[in-house]
Symmetry: C2
Subunit: 325 residues, 2 copies
């Protein structure tokens, strides 16, 4: 994973310097636990990269906004994990599992509020703009999560609906993080929008790639169990494209495979992959992924600033999109 | 209930003019449902009264902040109802009951974000200050809710801890609503603080009165079932004062009464009230209530502004504190 070392260190220090109250323990200990599970912290990095792109004078001015984005991301994970009944997060027990649902609801709420507390620490003249962007993105993330849950019980999701869902659930936050950085550096409205689009489209491409790798990735380099989505009947882009392409003759077989459980995991994965191959689903998904990757690069190119300054974002995009099969 | 008609109408119109998106339905329909259960809307009124006290030029400038406060209040009710497993709210099914827990978690989150969206509509020069106040109060409300849940499983709560809990859970929001109004009218820091203290202390007094009325109110005028708290073993100020005052000879009897359920409701209420009378608990609680009422009036008096302007807040306080027994 690409990392700007100096920025990553600044973010780490900033996150660690934010000391939480100790009381009430059941409110703050779970937040502390979650923040210490320490993910890749790519979202707060995007805030700094967005600010740096437009030559912010003092990069430290962008730290509160970057922490706000990281807090928001963790809040959304805490609540999503309750809703998805997920037992693990980053290999550790989720909060609702380690404590209980009530603790996870309330400490999630408090973390969302703490995200806004960070926004209020930003340079005052930018606060109204930052608040508007943050609110818009935060609400869209909620909409995406709701659509994702709605999709679980629906059999008629098309690729457009699916891409709209991942755009809302995961990609607008990447775009919003970059946009907030741009605001803090005083970028023009036009440039802000291009940078936002870059983040959103890159996010969509990345999520599509993640779906593809689940079925077609190399188990050694992918880092997750290959076929995990297949076993769980997860509605990935592959699943949806197959549902759209499948001919009547294969429908019963597809349904039969979907009804298989953990016990028949190998058979299930092999069967579904055969269908994916028969209908050239990987190629179709790759075409989509390339479409959104191209859109992302196009937006990055369109930003009206010295090409040299864009090097880091190009590198980041390249590294994200060439994850080893 | 005291109401400034013009302000109440403005708030009603403002709330109704905020049209929610229709999609995703499971995200927005519950919010719409909750906002239409329409409580007393005293919190948004406090924002306008706070702004009016200090002579805000255009009262409409305070409407977004008042809606923000009402949204926040409803968000906290939605999540509290999940945590308390409450089936009813204002006589209607709660959201987690009518839909499910996931819908209630996520629509609550969205409503909290929509509260911040309203803050971002406030006059830009006040946004940073309003955001700080709102965040501080919102976080305290979460702390209060956590303490309330912690208290359920603790037998060693003293009156100070209890009052601190109700201060956080319910009173700081009243103070914060008034304070935000004052900020919007450009009041001095000193005056803002006095007005905030007025709201907080009035809120504490009101909550203590509510506890007292549950046991000693007139069933005809109280509007709720008298003794409801007693049946539920709710840790009210009466319960806590009795726990502090009770002598060893009555402890077993108290414990026995606490173990009685719905079936023996009349016996339970009568028994507990006998103990309250034996230990003069009502008087002790009244003394506390009067202490906080006096603090509230003292803060209102201390506000450095023409006495005439305070008439509405005095009236509001009088009406809140002389609810019929």
């Amino acid at each position: 994973m690409y990392v700007n070392r100096i920025f990553a260190e600044k973010i780490g220090e900033e996150l660690e310097s934010r000391i939480l109250p100790h009381h009430p323990e059941n409110l703050y200990a779970p937040i502390d636990y979650m923040l210490n599970l320490s993910g890749k912290r790519i979202r707060p990095l995007l805030v700094l990269l967005g600010a740096d792109l437009f030559g912010i004078k003092n990069i430290d001015d962008a730290l509160p906004a970057s922490v706000a984005i990281e807090y928001f991301h963790n809040f959304s994970l805490i609540h999503d994990d309750i809703m998805d009944k997920a037992p693990l997060r980053r290999g550790k027990q989720t909060i609702h599992q380690k404590w209980n649902d009530n603790v996870a609801i309330l400490s999630g709420d408090a973390l969302l509020i703490k995200a806004y507390e960070q926004l209020s620490r930003c340079p005052a003249r930018f606060v109204p703009d930052l608040l508007r962007i943050f609110n818009r993105v935060a609400l869209e993330v909620c909409e995406g999560q709701q659509l994702d849950m709605d999709f679980e019980t629906s059999d008629t999701i098309g690729q457009e609906e699916y891409i709209n869902m991942i755009r809302l659930k995961t990609s607008v936050l990447l775009g919003g993080a970059l946009e907030m950085g741009a605001v803090l550096a005083g970028a023009s409205a036009e440039n802000r929008l291009q940078l936002y689009d870059f983040g959103v489209n890159l996010g969509i491409a990345f999520q599509l790639q993640d779906d593809i790798l689940d079925a077609f990735g190399d188990p050694v380099t992918f880092g997750k169990q290959v076929g995990g989505d297949i076993i769980a009947n997860k509605k990935t882009i592959l699943y949806i494209l197959l549902g759209e392409a499948i001919r009547r003759e294969d429908e019963a077989y597809f349904a039969e495979l979907l009804s298989l459980g953990e016990v028949d995991a190998r058979q299930k994965i092999a069967g579904i992959i055969t269908l994916y191959e028969k209908y050239a689903i990987q190629q179709k998904a790759d075409t989509l992924k390339q479409h959104y990757t191209a859109l992302a690069y196009k937006s990055l190119e369109a930003i009206n600033i010295d090409h040299q300054r864009k090097t880091e974002l190009y590198e980041l995009a390249n590294q994200l999109m060439k994850r080893v099969r």
